[in-house]
């Protein structure tokens, strides 16, 4: 990021002055210590922070998330033992169960927020990292990179892993009233997937990714 506020000229609007996306105030960009966020002085919207965004660090997190994605979705996240019979449910089965009963709006919402959203997000970040590693050559590489960056906001908004993790705790407590509830490999994988994705999203910096197109 350009942090040349000492040697700044008024006409060089592009780098030294940024506009707040919430209230359109022009703010002068300054150097920040790490871990500090710059807020808009007028409306207190977060403007920017010091990006770390190390490509290799993100790649490592991304690979672990991808490795966890399959077990998190294939193994049951909850197991119910009731009068000798054992019922298990994966995230996908949960969505399909409500869909089969005719509540497809609910089913799709669950499927998008807990399976498709995270999947797309991981796939997108992974492709972006690989494209950067390949050198972002003009042509299809840059076009695909731009296409993915434009959709990043949507992908991260429909990813709701953290809420799902809380929801299987809530379900477990609710159902423990009439039956025994057990957590399985799926629960562990899903929670780990949530944690790894959380760190990945902290590491990821969209502005930094966009700025790679400038040079």
């Amino acid at each position: 990021m350009d942090l040349q506020y000492a040697s700044m000229h008024h006409d060089d609007i592009d780098n030294s002055v940024i506009l707040c996306h919430a209230c359109d105030l022009a703010v002068r960009r300054r150097a920040l210590p790490s871990g500090v966020r710059a807020l808009c002085p007028r409306c207190h919207t977060a403007l920017y922070d010091t990006p770390f965004c190390s490509i290799n660090g993100m790649l490592a997190l991304c690979l672990s998330a991808v490795a966890l994605f399959l077990p998190a979705n294939l193994f049951p996240v909850l197991e119910l033992h009731f009068l000798g019979s054992v019922r298990t449910a994966t995230v996908f089965q949960g969505a399909m169960a409500v869909m089969d009963l005719g509540y497809w709006v609910v089913g799709i919402a669950v499927l998008v927020a807990a399976v498709i959203g995270p999947g797309l997000l991981l796939l997108s970040i992974m492709s972006q990292i690989l494209l950067v590693k390949m050198g972002l050559n003009p042509g299809w590489q840059r076009d695909l990179y731009k296409w993915l960056l434009r959709r990043h906001g949507l992908f991260s908004q429909i990813t709701m892993l953290e809420i799902y993790v809380i929801s299987f705790l809530v379900s477990a407590f609710q159902l423990s009233d009439f039956s025994d509830i057990y957590f399985g490999v799926g629960t562990f994988s899903f929670t780990m997937l949530f944690l790894v994705t959380l760190f990945l999203q902290r590491e990821y910096n969209i502005e930094h990714m966009w700025s790679r197109l400038n040079d």
Partner: protein, 209 residues
């Protein structure tokens, strides 16, 4: 930073790309970096946001009045609305869980709809409300909005696990769809709105603190 003189991008003839946040001159039609439409302000967003919000507010009624789950326990059928489900939780001594569910499925949707309505009214009719406070509220609404999904996740897990015929069976009920749409529409209403309009329309004199 800009302390006393508050210049906006509009006055400087610049505007921020809504997608990639690059600063572009106002007279350019598309962002030079990502190609998105370049607009100084999105005036239509106010109407879109109102439309989505009003639809959500209407759907909030069936979401709360109709049952959200149907439970068959040893042949006995009980319908639970969002509120009665929470009451059950309180009665069965699961207060922390009850608080979580209450926050996610009653407090958050109501707060969001009332909050967004206040926000939109303030912009549409230039009400004398502190913009700073409105903006803080808006950030909270944007952030907590997604937590309403909790209830839907819990329903889907419960339905998948508890299906043992007449002995014990859980099913979703009509309010579930209405509730899902309330979440979707309120999220969209907040997303679609161009918040820069608030700062243009209200006078600075309302913002002394």
């Amino acid at each position: 930073m800009t302390d006393n003189v508050q210049t906006t991008g509009k006055e400087m003839g610049q505007c921020l790309c809504p997608v990639c946040r690059k600063t572009n001159p106002v007279n350019v039609t598309n962002c030079s970096r990502c190609g998105a439409d370049n607009q100084a302000r999105d005036y239509g967003s106010l109407q879109k946001s109102w439309a989505l919000l009003i639809t959500a507010a209407i759907l909030l009624i069936p979401a709360n009045v109709y049952p959200i789950t149907t439970l068959v326990n040893q042949g006995k059928v009980t319908h639970d609305t969002i509120f009665s489900g929470i009451k059950h939780l309180v009665h069965s001594d699961m207060l922390p869980i009850a608080i979580i569910v209450f926050t996610a499925s009653i407090l958050v949707p109501w707060l969001k709809i009332i909050g967004l309505a206040t926000y939109l009214t303030a912009i549409s009719f230039s009400l004398p409300v502190s913009k700073r406070r409105l903006m803080a509220g808006f950030h909270i609404i944007e952030w907590i909005g997604r937590w309403s999904m909790l209830d839907l996740f819990v329903i889907s897990l419960t339905v998948a696990l508890v299906n043992m015929g007449q002995l014990l069976d859980a099913k979703p009920a009509p309010a579930a769809t209405a509730f899902a749409l309330v979440i979707l529409l309120t999220q969209l209403a907040a997303k679609v709105l161009d918040t820069r309009l608030l700062w243009d329309r209200l006078d600075l004199e309302n913002d002394k603190h």
